[in-house]
Structures are given as C-alpha cells and as structure tokens.
C-alpha cells in the first residue's frame, strides 16, 4: 500500500490535525493559526481535486482504518458521489475561510478550530461506509456547527441556536435508536454488508428493520430540513454570521446525501422485498418542502431569511428528485446540488456584505413604504432627477453578484441553475408519446413554480436593496471578502461552460447509486462471495 492509497483518509486527517494544533496555538499566535488554516484548506482543495479525478472510474476505492478486515473494521469508501461532496466542501471551506479573515474570525473565540472540525466532520460523513461511524461524524459536524452558528453571540443567534441544538440533539437520539435496531436485526453496521444482507432478512424481522431504518431516515430528514421538520433552519441560517452560514449551506445537504446513499443502497435493486420502501414519503416530503419554501421566500422581507428559505427550496427539490427514483433525474439532482450549494454559499456571503451598509430595519421600512406610501414621493417628483440615483461602484459589483445568484437559484439561463433544472425536468417528461404519471406532473410543476417564486422574491428584494434605496453608508468591503464570492460564482460559471463533462460525471455517479453492485463488490471484495 503506497502513500497515495492513504490519500483517501487525508480529508478527515488534515483538518483534524490543523484544528488540534490551532487549539494549542490559542489566540496568542493569530498569524500561525491563520497560516495553518490556509494550509489546511488549500491542501483540502488539492486533495479533493485529486480524489475527484481518481473517482471517475467504475470501481470503488476503499480505505480500511487500521487495516482491519472489512466487516469488522470501519471503512472509508470513496466513489463518485463522495468525491463530488468532498470537492464541494473543500471549495466552500476555502471560500468561507478567506472571507472570515477580513473580520468575522475575530468576533468570538475559537472560530478557526471550530471551522476545521466542521470540515473534518463533513468530510468524514461523506467518506464513511459505516452507519455508526456516520453517526460519530454527524456529531463532530454538528458540535462544530453549534459553535459556528453561535459565533459572534447576540440575542438572535443564541435564541435561534438553542432551537437548532435541541432539534438536532433529538434527531441524534433518533439516529441512535435506528442504528441499534438495525444492528440488532442484521448484526452489521457496515453499509455494504447491510445492503448485501437485506435480501436474506427473515420475513418476521423485516418490518422491524424497516422501522429502524425509517427512524434513522427521520434523523437524516431533520438535517435536510424536510417539511415539517425544518422550521429551525431559516432562523438559524439567517442569524449565523456570513462565513458560518456559507458552510452551513452544505450542512443541510448532508441529510440529502445520507438519504441518497443509504436509501439507494438498501432499498434499491438489491433490497429484495423492501425495494422502494419509503420512496413516496421522500417524494411527498420533498414536494411539501418546496411548497413551504416557496411560500417562505415570497413572504419574507429580509435578505438573510430569504436565503434561509432558498435553502429549504433547494433541499426540497433535491429530496423530491431523489424520491422520483429515476437514474437520469438523480443525475440532474446531483448537478443541481453542486450548483445550488455554490450559489447559496455565495448568496450568504454577499448578503453579509450588503447588510453591512443598511439600517437594521430598512427592509421592513421599505415594504411599509410601498404599502402605505409616505410624503417622499411627491417631493421627489418635483425635483429634477434626470441623473437618477447614483450607485456606488462597490454596490454595483455586489448587485451583479446578487443577480448571478438570482439566476442560479431561480434556474434561469444562462447559468448552471438552468442546466440543472433542465437536466431534472427533461427525463421526467420523457419521450413525447409516453403518458406521464400524475406525480411527475406535480414534480415538474413544483420545480417550475418554485423557480418563479424565487425569482419574484429575489428580484423584489434585490431592486429594493440595490436600486431603490441605495445604502445609507457605502459598505466597506475588502478584496478578501469579494474574492471568495467571485470564486464561488466563477465556479458556477465554470459548471455552465464545462456542462458536458460535468453532466457525464453526474450521470455516471447516479447510475452507480442506482446499481449498487459495484459499491458492494468494491467494499466487500472477496468477503461477499465467501459468505455461506
């Protein structure tokens, strides 16, 4: 085993060691801490890029921790979907890290170590091939996210953070109940081994096993903020600081990833009598989440809450697409995941910059002004205002970024959001002569209407924030803060330009998710054939 084979473990080890070293360095040597953080995030990007290239192959790579045999030890599994998620985490990590350097990392203690542990938990959750290990990485990720969500303190953050922590603690307990039921029935926690055993579960035990997995599924769906389990999300995300919210935007995708991975593996083709279990629930839950998110987007008057509600829509869209259970739709959903995570992170960072120049109550004031009208308009009409309102250059730049985010999130051409929506819609509509099931019509309608709602809401808020009432004070924005936003939006543009190879990759990933044979063979190897 050469050192290159150990690279699969690097996305977990690098941030762990960096985080530990940062705690030792403390707040006294900020330069060292920042340098370590930069080293770690850049290394993560390099590793993730390398792993992404390695992953585009039919076989699955595994890494046995401590070299224990597969069914006894814990394995890290590295395939196309994991590599995709790792790459997203790495890019978000680098962007949020650089963004935080300008001011936010000094708003409270231990920002950098928490940030590294957050990355470690995320990477671990995406790599692990073991259910209990997934729980442990979930907890690492959540514990760090509690800290990050509360970073900067303040009444709003603590109030929202408390709800967030309590909801997620209960979800963790449900996860534990599910895991122990699964272990009690099947005698294994290795995902691939479990999938291989699904067919042979005794008929009497099957209902209990399905119940256990369903309880675990609820825990995943709480993370994915499915309706009605996601009311904590908009408040928490809106209250979090910019860089924390940007990294949190992939946290809700961990739930969707876990559903995708576990559900496809256990209830896909190899599931025996359980195949397709719970699919309608995921589909219906996703649709309801889209509906709730769309209403929330339209109802909100506040930029941050708007972004939080967009996370709901994005989660719902993903879940509904997964629930549809078609290979091509799943491929489109993966593309959507990449595009929407980048766009949401960019939006959270942008909002932080825009809000800086505005009065806290400006959003609400603007809406009341629209409804009731004030004396200003008559005065304004008399004044010769041929030149219009002068918009400061920095606000124009931010406005352009906001426009790009709007296009991405609403799914309008020319950016990748449109391609993603199209990739999900085209296979749903299918060939022209085939009849289309009602559920697919509902899904198509939901995708399109949610895009419309996002567009209406973001255009309304955007006009108000950038054009109608230019900020009272021009926000002071440093290059350190603009660069990450530019990077994220630039990557979305790159996704659009290189859509063909990216889409091929996503479709291959979706195909391997729907036909988990390669995953099982890759993880279990010789063990699978040898079992009596």
């Amino acid at each position: 085993m050469g050192w290159m084979d150990h690279l699969v473990a690097a996305p977990v080890l690098v941030p762990m060691m960096a985080g530990a070293a940062m705690i030792l360095a403390g707040d006294r040597w900020r330069g060292a801490v920042v340098a370590l953080g930069l080293l770690s995030t850049v290394l993560l990007v390099a590793t993730a890029g390398w792993l992404l290239m390695l992953a585009d192959a039919p076989q699955v790579q595994i890494y046995r921790l401590g070299d224990w045999p597969v069914t006894f030890g814990i394995v890290l599994v590295h395939d196309r979907v994991s590599a995709l998620m790792l790459a997203l985490v790495a890019v978000l990590g680098l962007s949020a890290f650089v963004f935080s350097l300008a001011r936010w990392d000094r708003a409270g203690a231990h920002f950098h170590p928490l940030f590294q542990f957050q990355l470690m938990g995320l990477n671990g959750a995406f790599l692990t091939g073991d259910l209990f290990n997934l729980f442990v990485f979930f907890e690492v990720m959540l514990a760090a996210s509690y800290g990050l969500a509360l970073h900067g303190s303040g009444t709003a953050r603590v109030r929202a953070g408390m709800h967030y922590i309590v909801v997620n603690l209960v979800a963790s307990l449900l996860f534990l109940i599910g895991v122990s039921v699964v272990y009690g029935i099947s005698g294994t926690l290795n995902l691939a081994d479990l999938a291989a055993r699904m067919r042979d579960v005794a008929a009497a035990d099957r209902a209990l096993l399905e119940a256990g997995l369903a309880v675990m599924g609820v825990a995943f769906l709480v993370k994915a903020a499915i309706w009605p389990l996601g009311f904590w999300l908009p408040a928490t995300y809106a209250a979090a600081t910019g860089p924390a919210a940007a990294i949190l935007s992939i946290l809700s995708k961990v739930g969707a990833y876990a559903v995708l991975r576990v559900w496809m593996l256990l209830f896909g083709g190899e599931g025996g009598d359980s195949a397709g279990f719970g699919g309608p629930v995921i589909l219906a839950g996703g649709l309801l989440t889209i509906a709730f998110g769309s209403i929330a987007v339209l109802a909100t008057q506040n930029l941050s809450r708007l972004a939080g509600a967009s996370v709901l829509i994005s989660s719902g869209t993903l879940l509904a697409a997964i629930g549809a259970g078609q290979v091509a739709v799943t491929g489109g959903a993966l593309f959507y995941l990449a595009s929407s995570v980048l766009a949401l992170a960019a939006l959270f960072l942008l909002i932080e910059l825009v809000e800086r120049g505005r009065d806290p109550g400006a959003d609400v004031l603007a809406v009341t002004r629209e409804i009731f009208g004030t004396g200003d308009e008559e005065d304004g009409a008399d004044a010769p205002e041929a030149a219009g309102v002068a918009i400061p250059a920095i606000v124009a730049v931010l406005g352009l970024g906001f426009m790009a985010c709007t296009l991405l999130l609403a799914g309008l051409p020319p950016l990748s959001g449109f391609l993603a929506k199209f990739a999900m819609l085209a296979p749903l509509l299918g060939p022209a002569d085939a009849s289309i099931a009602v559920s697919r019509w509902v899904l198509v309608t939901a995708f399109i209407l949610s895009g419309l709602a996002t567009l209406v809401a973001m255009v309304r808020v955007g006009i108000d924030a950038f054009w109608a009432s230019p900020p009272a004070t021009v926000p002071r924005v440093s290059l350190l803060e603009l660069a990450p936003v530019g990077l994220l939006i630039g990557l979305s543009v790159a996704l659009t330009v290189a859509a063909a190879p990216v889409m091929d990759y996503m479709q291959a990933a979706a195909a391997s998710l729907h036909a988990p044979g390669a995953y099982l063979d890759g993880v279990l190897g010789g063990v699978r054939g040898a079992r009596p």
Binding site: F132, V136, E139, L142, A143, Y146, L150, S153, G154, T155, V158, R159, G161, M162, H163, I165, V166, L169, V170, S172, L173, L176, I177, V179, S180, V181, Y183, G184, L189
Partner: protein, 114 residues
C-alpha cells in the same frame, strides 16, 4: 428482566418526551437527558439481556454469541454516552447564555402574551 428493562426505557422515554415539550429551558434539558438515558438503555439491550451469566466466558466455554452478550452495542453505548454528555454540556452553556441575553427561561426567548 426484559420486562423491567423495557418498562424502564418506556417510562424514561415518556417522561423525556413530556419534559421536552414543556416551555422552560431547564425542563427541556432534563427531558433530553432522560431521553438519552432511555436511548442508551435501548442500545444496550439490543446486545441481549441475560441474568447470572459470566462477564465474558465461563472457564472452558467456546466463544459464540449464545454464551455471551454481544459487546458491540456496549461499545456503541459508550460512544453515545460520551457524545451525549458533551452536547448536553454545550446546551447547558447556551441555555445560560440565552437566560442572560433574553432575561427569561422560556424556550422562545420571550414570554407568551397572555
């Protein structure tokens, strides 16, 4: 034995859920603790419950699951206890911070209008 353990789990879960749904932060945290005890007992019981058995093996016995309780759930419980303890401690701090910042111990940070 099974009856006692399942009753204990049931009572703990019931009280935990009841407290969790109350409006004071302290009740919520006690409810969470009770729930996590119930879950720990539940995980422990999936390894099999036996009375009067040897800790690991009697002298001369062959090792098989019929002779001893499955040790893996016990390892899981240990992990779950540690994680539960840490997160509860964190929640306590947040609870105190919320009490200080909002001036009330209501979970929403403000009293309901009567």
């Amino acid at each position: 034995m099974e009856l006692v353990v399942s009753l204990a789990i049931g009572v703990l879960t019931g009280s935990g859920v009841w407290l969790l749904l109350r409006s004071r932060t302290f009740q919520v945290i006690i409810g969470l603790s009770l729930l996590s005890y119930a879950v720990n007992l539940f995980i422990f019981s999936t390894g099999g419950l036996r009375t009067g058995a040897a800790a690991i093996l009697e002298k001369g016995q062959e090792g098989s699951l019929a002779q001893f309780a499955d040790p893996l759930p016990q390892a899981l419980v240990l992990t779950a206890i540690v994680i539960g303890f840490a997160t509860t401690a964190l929640l306590l701090v947040v609870l105190l911070a919320a009490r200080g910042l909002t001036g009330t111990d209501h979970v929403d940070g403000r009293e309901r209008d009567r």
